[in-house]
Symmetry: C4
Subunit: 301 residues, 4 copies
């Protein structure tokens, strides 16, 4: 009874040890200190190693005995990632914000599959989600140009999202209809690959996206004629998402060019820049800048 | 004789019962009342169910006895859609406008194939046209952002239509010529798949749209050389519709940005917005707005 | 001797019969008179029939005896096109201008293959070049909107031509190199389809244009890796012609919008418009308009 | 001993013979003199011949005895290119600048493979790198329009580079994940082509770039569903590089249009133009012009 009390007390101290939290925070979240930088490099190395192991394992080029070693390394790395995840949650004041952020979810999903693989066969391969953790690489090596460009890309995609959603809704209705009609036309041909509607819809998507594997192809004259029509429609339709993204990027580009220094009147400043890079004058705040200010706090994770 | 007279009288009353018409109108066309909303949700559920049934039927995963059930459900749903169509025609003051609108034609085509299937085999699958009725989903759930974006997309495609039509006319002449020339070159090779000109034209379309199934491929050196030329032409040509749609979207985007509030001078208002979303001032009317006003009346259907 | 003199005299009169020339000109070049319109419709009908005959002939669906009929019809149509060509040359004051124009060359190429087919087998199919004569259809039916749009498209492509030429020069060097390297890597694999460099270059073009037939595919790990690199390069490179054409079209669009009426200040006038379509005021001449004025004289052909 | 001293002296004189250097420079680097022009034409002829020889050799259409001739021609050409390379290095004041320029590296790589092929089999085919030397053709024939257009293209690609790099980083993570998941799903199917993760990644790249060979295709329902999702993602993603390049080109176009003559107010001047092509007034310097001035010095090579 007394023993549990001591344990409870220590646990309480651990949970509220602000000094320890600060120390861990500077290691796992920041990369300005030597320790933080070392941690980040080890982390990235572990992620790359872990993904490479999964790829190598699938190639069946090792002798049978080596697989035990591979498995042990994988467990060790997973343990490391689990401790890292717990440390991240532990040292934050608002862990919930991290846990439900993009990186928080990816970090969790990067460890879970291995634990799941004890119960369910095949989930083991899902640990490749770890690869997405590599996006951190830009922050660690302070490649801010790339972060800015990446943000511009994300912003363009984000602004285009409702248009692209509408577009996909329409494409889904179209491929369902086209697939069904092709099933009605081609389904009766001997050895037809259009043997059910889901396969025909799969064919319609393969065709409309211009992938064109050729594993399912029309053989009847009517089917070929309809396919040609679908291809030409797909040809026009491929222009739509491109047009959407192009138009958005042109518009974002122009906004960027409008960020003109009030003192020296030169433009070409990033959305996030606070001061003119030529004369140091304070730039006016832009809407994306405000959005980015909020995001920058989350970017840490 | 007297009996018919009574029947005729009742029919006349039914046809001119404005109160009933108003009641039905509020149910089938509007979704503001609880009844109207319920009707819309049942309708969308029925459409999805109906399309799913067709897909499931084609997969041959049910025991033979289940098909009778499937067929009965399909007839019940078709009856429901038929009654709905008649109700829509009945309750409008200008039914002709609805009947010849996009949704009016789709609604009719969504019921006809089942009736046709009594006489003609295979038409049964055309009922998948019902899927297009799902476009209503955006209006029902008041996803106006998506409707606006969809309208912008449609406007861009509509403005681009003559250019794209010209483009397709040219593409058709090109694939006909290319197909014929390839038939002349490849047609004599043993086991050639270029066994007639329609198949060669089909091949030219498959190639030029960069789908490339590989079910028909050139085997002679001259044929391969000409194919390479066609591909490189197709590569340039794929740029044209994309360029058309991109240019139109950039231009539409810019018009949108020109809708500036006369009081607070902020922009970014939708084409359809009547009042500034920041300060509530009345915005100036735009040409597309006027066009949309007309369309909004039809949009109901 | 006297007989030849009469013949020569008649021939001379025929060559300088301005009245006859004017009459023929109004029939074959213009479509404002009933006779001219009738001629144009017969001409278009003959072209369509002639192309359809070639297509039908290749399908081997007629009994053997029908081919004589097909061949006779073809000769009659070719005779008609030949007389038409001679009439066009005859009635113009500057026949050379027509003979070396796009339509002049197409008109000649539309008749030659049939005459050539007496001496050379296979040239017969080249008569499909006739299909290009159908472009006249827009002028005949006075579809000027389409002509304007087509001119805008052509202008954009024409302005983009040097950029696209440079681009293709680079692509050719790239596919030659890539094809040779892939031959060095894959050529030794058993049953390799990379059996010589031209085939490897053909494969590189098929891959880079994202057509991807799959008739030639890499099988070695190194070959697959290099293919993936080529695909990703092709993916970026496909953006270049699209970007070129898009940028040109955006710029042409903007010029179009700059054609503002000096009296009512409304824009949206075609390049070729001379008067404001809203208030009738004389518009300022633009450079493309001047270019089009010259072209309009040639457009007749 | 005396003999070596003389040799050394001659060598020294040769190394500092400014007159000879100037003479060689005017021949190998310039094409304004008849000798320089002749040299350039012989050079381009040799490159084309050399590339054609490699292609012809691979086609196995010559009798066995001819290969000795081919090989001798190849050695002679390689010797010529080697001497040319040494001459280029010799006659420059700052040879280092040339050696590490794009053309310097290409010129070296154009000779090395043949020497390497004495030791390593297969490197022989790398001499196709010579094809890249043909880019000089535009400078030699003074096709400055094309050079300007090419520079605009390169500038656009260069400005877009960080965005495209970010994009590829993301695509690589995506195809690795997708490939692994597809291996987990499809790997167990009998005769599955998804037999290891590298092959699955290769498949993911083939699919996402819409090449779609069809040598590896999913067969299970889950695999086909996931493939369809990947295709639709790829369809959206293909829009991104196009959007990037289009936006950059639109923006570059606009800068070009801003180069307005201060005297006659006409625009449309090249980035590199120093004087107005209409009235001869001095144009203002632009940033790209300054960049080009530096580059122009290197362009020689």
């Amino acid at each position: 009874m007394k023993y549990f009390s001591i344990l409870h007390q220590r646990w309480y101290h651990f949970l509220h040890n602000e000094e320890l939290k600060q120390k861990i925070y500077s290691i796992v979240f920041e990369s300005d200190t030597p320790k933080g930088k070392l941690f980040d490099i080890i982390l990235i190395g572990s992620i790359v190693l872990s993904v490479l192991l999964v790829i190598l394992e699938s190639m069946h080029i090792f002798p049978h005995s080596a697989y035990l070693v591979l498995r042990v390394v994988e467990y060790v790395l997973t343990l490391f990632f689990t401790i890292e995840y717990l440390a991240r949650v532990y040292c934050l004041k608002q862990p919930r914000k991290y846990i439900f952020s993009f990186f928080g979810i990816v970090d969790l999903l990067a460890t879970l599959p291995v634990y799941l693989s004890f119960f369910l066969h095949g989930t083991h391969y899902l640990l490749v989600i770890r690869a997405f953790r590599l996006i951190r690489i830009f922050r660690i090596f302070k490649l801010f140009t790339f972060i800015n460009e990446g943000n511009l890309l994300l912003r363009s995609l984000w602004i285009s999202a409702p248009k692209i959603f509408i577009f996909f809704f329409f494409v889904l209705i179209l491929v369902t209809s086209m697939g069904t009609v092709m099933y009605a036309i081609e389904g009766d041909a001997p050895n037809s690959q259009f043997n059910n509607i889901p396969n025909s819809i799969y064919w319609a998507i393969v065709t409309m996206t211009t992938v064109g594997y050729g594993d399912i192809t029309p053989v009847t004259p009517v089917g070929r004629f309809l396919s040609a029509v679908i291809m030409l429609i797909g040809y026009t339709i491929i222009a739509v998402p491109t047009g959407i993204v192009s138009a958005t990027m042109v518009s974002e580009h122009k906004k960027l060019e409008k960020r003109r220094c009030p003192r020296c009147h030169r433009d070409g400043h990033d959305f996030e820049a606070l001061y003119c890079k030529y004369c140091g004058a304070r730039l006016k705040k832009t809407e994306p800048e405000k959005a980015n200010e909020e995001r920058r706090n989350d970017e840490r994770f």
